[in-house]
Symmetry: C2
Subunit: 333 residues, 2 copies
């Protein structure tokens, strides 16, 4: 390449990277040779010496999940027109897979690591943060406070439940997420707090276990309808579970929202198009993705950026309605 242009390799490097002034004629000669050979510098050699790979690793619990997918989209957009490239990997909800993915990405010399959800213990995350700039979403580690973006799940659940209460519902069931999962626990607490604050009972029979997926919510709703404890509304711990519940209600001939009001959590892309469109707690996933990207970029430039706060809001659509216009009743089996 340098030979074709008739200059030294250093001059080629300088023209390509604009690291120093190069005389006009030499520069043109280099550019001509560049064109002619379709030359591309070797990224590996470059990174080997600069010590930076210009990539940022992103590990999502599950790339398939529409929830994380939207965060990823925001993150990607945030990195457009930036010299940095996102490199995605799945954690597959497994500590082992997640550790593996992290090691791989560090091994590949990513300049920063972004975790979209994490099943790893805090100390392990702390250890990783010592090896590579780390940004975490959906998981709070006290020692990593400035690098963790979390949403107030408790508040979101409280909002959702209060909405139902304000509509006149008194018997509100909850389809909860997996046992021990941080978000699931927070959402349960928010639900319970809203009931308590309004002097409403919260019988344990009205809380049924789920795993954030449709199938379990479907089954759970059927059990709920069968256990003899009346209710007029359901707060599902996420939209996928709300969809499962909605199908169970449909199969039992119960109308939403006429017979049972239904609220979800997440506001997935599809939730505005369920029948009826789902009232749900909106998570600004795309914006979160962009904020994570901006934060990472700042970190990479040696700044000490801070993460913004994202309050959760309620998207009120058509799956909830005032109880005052319909008689409170136990749904028919």
């Amino acid at each position: 390449m340098a030979r074709v242009a008739g200059v030294s390799v250093s001059t080629v490097s300088r023209t390509i990277n604009g690291t120093a002034f190069v005389a006009e004629d030499k520069r043109q000669a280099v550019n001509r040779a560049l064109q002619e050979l379709g030359f591309q510098p070797n990224y590996l050699a470059k990174s080997l010496i600069t010590g930076r790979s210009m990539t940022v690793g992103v590990i999502a619990e599950d790339i398939v999940s529409p929830y994380y997918a939207d965060v990823i989209r925001g993150f990607e957009h945030g990195l457009f027109d930036t010299p940095y490239q996102p490199v995605l990997q799945s954690g597959h909800w497994s500590q082992q897979r997640e550790s593996g993915a992290i090691e791989t990405l560090i091994y590949r010399k990513v300049d920063a690591l972004v975790l979209l959800g994490s099943t790893l213990p805090g100390e392990e995350l702390l250890d990783i943060a010592g090896r590579v700039p780390l940004v975490v979403f959906g998981r709070h580690v006290p020692e990593l406070d400035a690098r963790c973006l979390t949403l107030d799940q408790y508040q979101g659940a409280y909002l959702a439940t209060r909405h139902l209460i304000e509509l006149g519902h008194r018997d509100i069931a909850h389809l909860r997420g997996p046992d021990g999962q941080q978000d699931a626990e927070e959402r349960l607490r928010g639900y319970q707090a809203a009931l308590r604050d309004n002097d409403l009972p919260s019988p344990p029979e009205l809380v049924v276990q789920g795993d954030f997926l449709e199938q379990a919510a479907y089954q759970g709703t059927l059990r709920l309808l069968g256990n003899g404890c009346p209710f007029t509304a359901i707060f599902a711990a996420n939209d996928q579970m709300a969809v499962g519940a909605r199908l169970a209600l449909y199969r039992q001939g119960l109308r939403v929202p006429d017979d049972v009001s239904l609220v979800g959590f997440d506001d997935l892309p599809g939730s505005a198009f369920t029948t009826p469109p789902l009232t749900t707690v909106h998570q600004p996933t795309y914006q979160i993705g962009r904020a994570l990207a901006a934060h990472t970029l700042g970190l990479l430039q040696g700044e000490m950026p801070t993460l913004p706060d994202f309050p959760l809001t309620l998207s009120i659509r058509e799956s909830t309605r005032s109880l005052r216009r319909t008689a409170a009743r136990r749904p028919a089996l």
Copy 2:
């Protein structure tokens, strides 16, 4: 590292990679030092010399789309327990973005490239195939026949339409995908062929334009209902559009399947849980992902693997019903 173990760098390299026999005592010394220092070889230096990065680039039109997400999941699973790592990028349905993503990945020296859908012209793909082992899904390029995995969209659409015809429907509308998009055109052709083969009319007013998204399908269905041309069934070009149509019908007080039967295409993860569960053309996306992974692996090992055939099947659920049990009628406005 070599100093700590008291051996030469070559011996370290040989123990790590098992490239040659190393005396037991030295090997142990090396392993001890490895542990002690938490040493990790530099991937960049290694790849620089071996010329292989042990990564395979995957570019999906849209990582957010549940359709591609499932293919990706299959692909990732297919690469588990393999020295190869997938590296994902989005093409964002734009030729420019897609080209950019491809260049980046080639620049990063991926050992193979997998395209999940592509908007690029065939000749460009051909050019890329000359630079790096290429596997393409959802796009057929004659010169790259052995590397292209495509599904018979025509056949799938034919199946869906014939199913409706067999149920007694005669006036079947079609919500088509974007103009010029290969799959969309094939599905339209399959729909038209099924009608023709059964001596059914296919008035152009019953075909409305869409873009594979819910919103346009919603609007399109409203137009369909307003244009005075009666129909008893809708074949949507994909599940997302079916969902949009279903909401429009709901808003107009039309029941599915009682008043209008509805068929989708793709069988997305959520389509089994819409209300009612959607009858749709099933694409074995996860299996496809695994097949693509196996094929890529074969290619990387210098084999000449062939891609399997995936016939499309119909998942008959609850959004379609026989017209014989209900009077054929023009849906009320």
